[in-house]
């Protein structure tokens, strides 16, 4: 899932300061699941903005709506009728959703209300952790199902650095050493030898080094 976190209120207020009628749009996918931009957060942000502007002596009008998914044009189309009488749009979706809104509603300023963080998994209620960087060439098959690119602070592909201590990364005791995890898992699977294979320098083109990426499925693409 894509994870995100609400931006500081001040930043959002600065964006919409010049406008009076705002459409606040949430997304019912990833950002709902990570409690950053679903229907509930839309309500909270709307109320917070109202109060904050009011405290500063300014009245604004905020309409709230949450789309099933902001990264699909058909869903984004649904709110076309709401655009009249709106000066600016604030999107609580991830960067993909914000851009899709901006693409569809070209004449309305669209502002992000969340910072899109990473692709992650939920470790437990209220805690999400990075798992994937979308490098486009998955190594997990040889690293025991644990990604050193996303989870090693130095993206080391051939083993732990000298800072690995008691299973934790040198940058913080809160961060697991990815290579400790990989090694433990390889041992559990009886694949210790895998470790000795040198993973050669990575071709980063698939990770975006080759410019913005695109997937085209010929059979499906219209």
């Amino acid at each position: 899932m894509i994870t995100a976190e609400r931006k500081p209120l001040k930043e959002i207020m600065d964006y919409i300061q010049p406008f009076n009628r705002i459409l606040l749009v949430g997304c019912n996918e990833c950002v709902t699941v990570c409690s950053a931009g679903g229907r509930k957060e839309v309500g909270l942000l709307s109320s917070a903005l109202q109060s904050a502007f009011l405290s500063a002596g300014k009245s604004i009008e905020i309409k709230e709506h949450t789309l099933e998914r902001q990264c699909d044009p058909e869903y984004v189309e649904e709110i076309v009728g709401m655009m009249d009488g709106v000066d600016a749009v604030v999107s609580m979706a991830c960067g993909c959703g914000v851009q899709e809104m901006a693409r569809r509603y070209k004449n309305k300023p669209v502002f992000p209300a969340v910072n899109t963080k990473f692709m992650g998994a939920s470790e437990r209620q209220g805690v999400w952790a990075e798992r994937c960087q979308g490098c486009g060439n998955c190594l997990l098959g040889i690293t025991g199902g644990i990604c050193p690119i996303a989870r090693c602070s130095k993206q080391l592909m051939n083993g732990p650095c000298g800072g690995s201590t008691n299973g934790k990364c040198e940058i913080s005791k809160e961060v697991d050493c990815a290579w400790q995890l990989i090694w433990d898992r390889l041992k559990m699977l009886g694949q210790e030898d895998r470790y000795l294979d040198i993973i050669p320098a990575k071709d980063w083109r698939t990770a975006g080094g080759g410019g913005p990426r695109k997937i085209v499925r010929e059979d499906l693409a219209g």
Binding site: G162, S164, E170, C177, I198, P200, A201
Partner: protein
């Protein structure tokens, strides 16, 4: 001989090699580099020049190495994969070699988190093992990593670091094996205070015959005070300072602690000289270069052999 490196020659002759290090200044002050170089001249076979050590901005390793080379010393160019992509690294290797620098150490580098630019992007285009491979390909195949041929390929004596004390311990020998497989010529270890653990590691190294495939230089660092001992024990990741070492330092009055640190360092060198597979010593006297001659001398490592 793979290279013209003095260090390689010393090692190949079967002498215990001695290296030390020089941290470049945080400013455009060549005098400081020279000063440190002078302190070390004649006492060591090569001088490591650190590369933005602890992720703090300093004069570049290449720049400082050139200054030392100009003084007639043998700089050992450290290179971390943190700050440059493979293009920059290869071009820098060419520059170094063009200035007569023929020995280098391939590292991944401390995380920017610890330095003075925690906001900086970490490059990590490749990792240290991949860097070893790349330098080896440049030297032995005369080609860049991208495949193109090199005119006058840089003949680098390739080093890397090893930390016998980091976790998981059982991986530590295997990781060295990987570096050997990647083509490393010599190894400098993390500073050693826990000698039994180091010996255990060396045993693993010997069992795999790795000491015959690369030279292992044991790292030592003299401690200036009990406070430093405690700091290294508790705060420096991957550092193993046993309690008895801290206690030994602390047992001395403040003014005698530095001397005690030097004594420990010398004892360590003497004891490690007996360990099969130890090919030399890397003395890291951090911001205390002037003590290196005393250590080298008292450890019986003088005079340094003259090689052609």
């Amino acid at each position: 001989m793979k290279t013209n490196s003095v260090l390689e020659k010393v090692l190949a002759n079967g002498n215990l090699a001695v290296t030390s290090e020089c941290g470049p200044p945080r400013g455009a002050v060549p005098e400081k580099v020279k000063e440190k170089g002078q302190l070390l001249a004649g006492f060591v076979d090569a001088v490591n020049v650190t590369d933005n050590q602890t992720a703090m901005v300093r004069m570049s390793s290449l720049g400082a190495s050139i200054l030392l080379r100009q003084m007639g010393l043998n700089p050992l160019l450290q290179m971390v994969t943190r700050d440059r992509n493979r293009l920059a690294m290869q071009s820098e290797i060419l520059s170094a070699y063009a200035h007569g620098i023929d020995t280098m150490l391939c590292l991944s580098g401390d995380h920017p988190h610890f330095g003075d630019h925690p906001m900086a992007a970490s490059v990590h285009d490749i990792d240290s093992i991949q860097l070893i491979q790349m330098v080896k390909t440049m030297r032995d195949e005369g080609r860049f990593q991208g495949g193109a041929e090199i005119e006058n390929p840089p003949k680098m004596f390739i080093g890397a670091a090893a930390n016998p004390f980091a976790d998981p311990f059982e991986l530590r020998v295997m990781r060295l094996a990987k570096k050997v497989a990647a083509g490393v010529d010599f190894i400098q270890t993390q500073c050693i205070y826990n000698i039994p653990k180091f010996e255990k590691w060396m045993e693993g190294v010997r069992n795999r015959g790795l000491h015959e495939k690369c030279y292992i230089l044991a790292g030592v660092t003299p401690m200036k005070s009990a406070g430093m001992a405690r700091y290294m024990k508790n705060k420096v990741p991957g550092m193993d300072v046993p309690d008895d070492v801290v206690a030994r330092m602390a047992a001395k009055p403040k003014e005698e602690q530095a001397q005690e640190g030097v004594d420990i360092c010398i004892e360590t060198i003497q004891r490690l000289s007996q360990v099969e597979g130890v090919a030399g010593f890397h003395i890291m006297a951090i911001e205390w270069e002037k003590i290196v001659p005393e250590i080298v001398e008292r450890a019986g490592l003088l005079p340094r052999p003259q090689v052609a």
